[in-house]
Symmetry: C2
Subunit: 405 residues, 2 copies
Amino acid sequence: MIKLNENYLKLPGSYLFSTIAKKVSEFSQNNPDKKIIRLGIGDVTQPLCPAVISALHSAVDEMANADTFKGYAPDLGYEFLRKAMAENDFRSRGCDIADDEIFISDGAKSDSANIQEIFSADSKIAVCDPVYPVYVDSNVMAGRTGDYDTTSEVWSNVIYMPCLADNNFAPELPKETPDLIYLCFPNNPTGATITKSELQKWVDYANKNGAVIIYDAAYEAYISEDDVPHSIYECEGARTCAIELRSFSKNAGFTGLRLGATIIPHDLKTKDGVEVHKLWARRHGTKYNGAPYIVQKAGEACYSAEGKAQLKEQVAYYMKNASYIYNGLKNAGYTVSGGVNSPYIWLRTPDNMTSWEFFDYLLDKANVVGTPGSGFGPSGEHYFRLTAFGTYENTVEAVDRIAKL
Amino acid sequence: MIKLNENYLKLPGSYLFSTIAKKVSEFSQNNPDKKIIRLGIGDVTQPLCPAVISALHSAVDEMANADTFKGYAPDLGYEFLRKAMAENDFRSRGCDIADDEIFISDGAKSDSANIQEIFSADSKIAVCDPVYPVYVDSNVMAGRTGDYDTTSEVWSNVIYMPCLADNNFAPELPKETPDLIYLCFPNNPTGATITKSELQKWVDYANKNGAVIIYDAAYEAYISEDDVPHSIYECEGARTCAIELRSFSKNAGFTGLRLGATIIPHDLKTKDGVEVHKLWARRHGTKYNGAPYIVQKAGEACYSAEGKAQLKEQVAYYMKNASYIYNGLKNAGYTVSGGVNSPYIWLRTPDNMTSWEFFDYLLDKANVVGTPGSGFGPSGEHYFRLTAFGTYENTVEAVDRIAKL
């Protein structure tokens, strides 16, 4: 008999960004004359930088020649990329991470969805609320989250850590001890950050309670202030309690190229001494076949002197947008946060509108697409996310349209 | 407390091809003067064809320009590729498959490992024995396979369908009814094929018993004989019982580029009318972020007139190797099969050697790497797989070395 994974059927509605895409497409069909500006999904608009383009072309040429052609990639990723990451993203910041503790993948979305699989089915998860939906949905699919209450919009077996204005959008240590703690800083969706000493408290908590922190550092390139850690391994003791997720999507515009990495230190072990690293390696070897060679070469180019300089400019371009959104909306009377160490601006909806009401209002009146805060969890209700990933011209126009409403 | 997925710990040893890679690397270090020829892992050696290379370069150029830059791909893959596949691989063969029944992915390995996830945890699987290890291992990780008996090397809760010389390496309908049936034709590892009327029996059996067939068609490009189906959808009734997996790795040399597809017809439903398609779409939307645009453009190029002609030549190149291996070993007194509609040659080990004994013997005496049949399941014991994916020169040398032993 065809028996489905019933946990899938518990999921309310479709994936957030698929729903938005559908709504926008409908609006667009009904209003073909309107120029829609998309500041919703966190997708970049700037082309790949010249250093990356040049690396791609030359890697493609290698694939055209029998002597330099590359077939299956090594299980964990090419040594050249793991080394470049380990040196530039970790060791140069004083983080003790070895090349072989880095697993190259097709992106932080897949990794953040798959990482739960190597943990026990009865592991209890804790998430920030609001939160990137993939953390929760992937655990729903795995049957860890209990039942969904359609009124409160929470899962019965998930520890929610509310991030609201009164705690500066930073979670507090949970009372009930979780097995897995998902943290993302700079945060998606709120754009909030965490200081090194605050993050140290989480590392100490996890080590004390035997919890694993899954630390999503996808937005670290946007950090502009000192004392905001770029990696959890800047904290003492993180090697025994933390997994870190890295992405090339936002710092290098790889959303359509797909490249990421997961870091699992060998010191992360069960009390019986089994390395978590070993299970993830087994998963990679069995259920994945490596990121394309040409994309891994593109990733390597991000660490060349030329690539670094070009990407710095690209990040600055988006941060100029972030600043324009932040200031423009603030001046227009909105309550806004984020946007300083992050490409995301988090705003309070006006007139106590629900997040989806404001979504429809903005789409209809200003033809601007954003992301409803409630799509990220119940504490996101009455909030709204705008991204700085548009072009400067579109960003200015969108903010000016909103300000005029 | 750090609690791992205990199912992972049940897996004996490492992934087959990781073990082989390790053994070969050790031999190579101890014997730096020996020229090792690798006919083990099914990895291709011919460069990407000119049509694909040209598509890659022009797609890279698109990524360099803001007007043509592509970010996140559509959830299910780009329309241009789904259409090209649906038309060329299915509709042109009389298979009724719509564009939106095709899900583009990063390869058949990931898809064949992940597909089990959308089915119930208590689904019982049936596999050919020997079999591509990913089907079983991914179900072990999901906890479906019961316990492993180290003596018989079988899992207590898996239905094995032995494929041996006396049944022409073709499975027989199982007595106990499975929920999920994995079939792969042309077969990996045996190189055996199935006729359309034989496959029709499986489709009828699945429809009658409410089972789902997961049909791996990764090697269909190597079919040279008539009456061997290229797709399970050539059989009547397959739309209500079959999922098909497609790969670009073997027909177009994409092992290092990563591209594949899973086909799920809308007619594949539970008795309550829930479409299996819907769950896989949810998985794609939640846990995956699309194959790279440039790789999807490379995939499209495989369906151009130029691309088709070039790939036909590439397949012919490998099939010339297959023929040389088949005839060379047969003339040297080996019992061989496969190699006619498949790039794999399956041979009986001489002198009743175990598969791993023959692996070591061949590596040591002829410096040739193959794959031990027992690595694919207990019925693979005393068999050995050689692939036709080497260069012609290496293939000839390897066969001549083996023949002289």
